[in-house]
C-alpha cells in the first residue's frame, strides 16, 4: 500500500491544483490509468509497482483504512521487477507510516520524505499526512524493522536540521553538526530536538551520549584539529599517520630550529665586534624599513642624521655619521654593499682625521 501511496503522492505533485480530499479517489483512478500506460521501467520507479493488477490497485484506493486492504498488496506485489530497489525504495515511504503519532512531526516528516524523493513538498503535504496518520498502524512489513531506524533517523534529522539552523547553537554542537552534515553516517539524536533549550549535540551512531563522553569527544576533536595544523606547519608531516610519529616529527623539527638559532647566535657573537658602527648607522630611524629583512632599504634612512637612541657616544656617533654620509651616498645603488662602502669611507675618513675618540676606538677594533 505504501508504495502506491507514494506514487499517489508523486502523481499529486504533477497536478498541484487539486488537493481536496473529496476528489482524490477520482484522481487516483485517473492517475493510475495514466500511469499504467507508461511501460514499467526496470524496477526502479513507481511505475514498476503499478504492475499490480488494476483491481488490486482499486481495492487499495477504496479501502485506505483497513489493515487488511493495506497488507494484501504487499504480499502480492510482484517482486521480479523491483527486487533490488525494493528495500532501498521502501524506507522512504515506510518512514511516512511508522512515524510517531505526533501530527506536527508527521507533517514535517512528510515534507522531508517528499523532499527526499525529490519531489515538490508543499503540494503533497496534505495527502501524505492524512494517509500516514491512518496507516501508521500498519506494521506488518518485514522490512519495517530494518528500515525503521534508518527512516526515522533520516526523517527526524531534517526537522532538527531546520531547527538547528534557526536556533542559536553552542559552539561544540555546531562543530559536530558540520561534521554530521558532510558525513553520511546515520545520525542519532541525543535529546528531543523539538523545542527544548538544551544543547543539541549529535552523536555518531553507536557512540555514547552522556556528558562525560561528549566532553571527551569535544576535547579529542580539538586536539585532532590542532594536530592537523601542526602537520601542515612541519614539512613532510602530512604523509605520516599516527599521533606518536607525527609528534616525533614535530619534536625533531622544533629541536632543529632551536639548534639553528643557537648556531646563528654563535656566529653573530663571533662576527659582531667588527661592525659596531654599521649597527649604529643602521638604527637611524625605526621606520618600516626592516619588514623584509632586506637591509638595502635601510640605506635610505641614513639620509637623516638623527639617531634616536641613548648611548654614551651618541654625540660622536652623530658627528661621524653625518660626515660619513657625504661620501658614499651619491650614485650608489641601494644594496648591502653600501655597508662595506660606508665602512671603507669611514676608514679613510678616520685615517685622515684621527682626532676623535671614536675613531681611535674603531681603529682598535679593526
Amino acid at each position: 500500500m505504501e508504495p502506491n501511496l507514494g506514487t499517489i503522492a508523486r502523481s499529486i505533485s504533477i497536478r498541484p491544483n487539486r488537493e481536496e480530499t473529496g476528489l482524490e479517489s477520482l484522481q487516483f483512478r485517473e492517475e493510475i490509468h495514466r500511469l499504467m500506460i507508461v511501460p514499467p521501467e526496470n524496477g526502479s520507479s513507481f511505475t514498476a509497482l503499478l504492475e499490480l493488477p488494476e483491481t488490486q490497485a482499486m481495492e487499495l484506493l477504496h479501502s485506505p483504512h483497513s489493515d487488511k486492504g493495506v497488507t494484501v498488496p504487499l504480499s502480492g506485489v510482484p517482486l521480479h521487477g523491483i527486487n533490488d530497489d525494493h528495500k532501498s525504495y521502501l524506507p522512504s515511504f515506510n518512514g511516512n507510516l511508522t512515524f510517531p503519532s505526533n501530527k506536527v512531526l508527521i507533517e514535517r516528516a512528510a515534507k522531508f520524505s517528499v523532499f527526499a524523493s525529490g519531489e515538490h513538498s508543499p503540494e503533497t503535504s496534505s495527502v501524505p499526512s492524512d494517509s500516514s496518520a491512518n496507516l501508521e498502524k500498519v506494521k506488518s512489513e518485514p522490512a519495517d524493522t530494518d528500515s525503521n531506524p534508518n527512516s526515522s533517523q533520516l526523517l527526524v534529522s531534517d526537522p532538527t536540521v531546520n531547527i538547528k539552523n534557526q536556533r542559536s547553537e553552542k559552539r561544540k554542537e555546531r562543530e559536530k553538526k558540520g561534521k554530521g552534515c558532510t558525513k553520511k553516517t546515520k545520525i542519532e539524536i541525543s535529546q528531543d530536538a523539538e523545542k527544548l533549550p538544551y544543547v543539541h549535540v549529535r552523536a555518531r551512531r553507536g557512540q555514547a551520549t552522556d556528558s562525560h563522553s561528549l566532553a571527551e569527544r569535544a576535547r579529542r576533536e580539538k586536539i585532532n584539529a590542532r594536530m592537523k595544523l601542526l602537520q601542515e606547519l612541519v614539512p613532510g608531516c602530512s604523509k605520516i599517520s599516527g599521533t606518536a610519529l607525527v609528534l616525533d616529527e614535530i619534536i625533531n623539527h622544533v629541536q632543529s630550529l632551536q639548534r639553528q638559532v643557537e648556531l646563528l647566535s654563535m656566529r653573530l657573537a663571533s662576527v659582531n665586534p667588527r661592525i659596531d658602527f654599521n649597527l649604529d648607522s643602521l638604527f637611524a630611524p625605526e621606520s618600516g624599513s626592516l619588514v623584509d629583512s632586506n637591509f638595502s632599504s635601510m640605506v635610505s634612512p641614513l639620509l637623516w642624521p638623527e639617531i634616536p637612541f641613548n648611548g654614551n657616544r651618541q654625540q660622536h656617533q652623530q658627528q661621524w655619521n653625518f660626515d660619513a654620509l657625504h661620501r658614499p651616498l651619491w650614485g650608489r645603488e641601494e644594496d648591502s654593499h653600501t655597508f662595506i662602502t660606508m665602512e671603507n669611507s669611514l676608514l679613510s675618513y678616520d685615517s685622515a682625521n684621527s682626532a676623535s675618540l671614536h675613531s681611535n676606538q674603531l681603529k682598535m677594533e679593526l
Binding site: R226, V254, V261, A269, S270, D276, N278, S287, L290
Partner: protein
Amino acid sequence: MNPRRSISSNPASTVKSRFTNGFLQALLRINRQRITSTTAYTPREIFRGYLRVKIAADVSMASAIGSRRAWSRAILRKVRSHGRDGAQVRRMSFLAMRKRNLYGNIKCVEDAGFHQANVLRKLVPGGEAMDMCCLLGETAHYIKCLKTQVKVMGRIAEVFST
C-alpha cells in the same frame, strides 16, 4: 610576516620587523659591552658572549610577540626572575604539573602521544603547565616564530659577515 599578526595598523610593525629591531638593538648593546670590557678570547668568554646573544634573540622574539602567547610570557618571566630563586622555579614547575592534571587530562598515559608530549613540554617554553590542547597550539605558534627568527638571524649574519 603576515600583517594580520601586527598589533598596530601600521603594516610595517609586523612580528618580524619588531623582532628585527629589537634584536639589532640588543646586539648593539652587547657589542658596546664587549668594547668597554676586555676582549677576551678564552672559551669561557666566547661562551658567555654566545649565551648573551642567544638570550637576546629569545627575549627580543618574546617581546615582539608580547604577552599574547603563553610561551612568550614564560620566556619573559624566566628572564625577569633570572637566577632569583632556583628552588622557587622547581616548585613552580611542580605546581604547574598539578594544575595541568586538574584541568586537563587525567588519564593521559594511555593517550597516544603522552611520552612525546612530555618531551615537547620541555622544548616549548612554558609548556609544563599546559594541557595537550594548549600545548599543541603553542607549539604551532612557537614553530612559526622560530622560523622567522632563523630567517632574520641568518640574514643578519649574512650581512655582517660580508
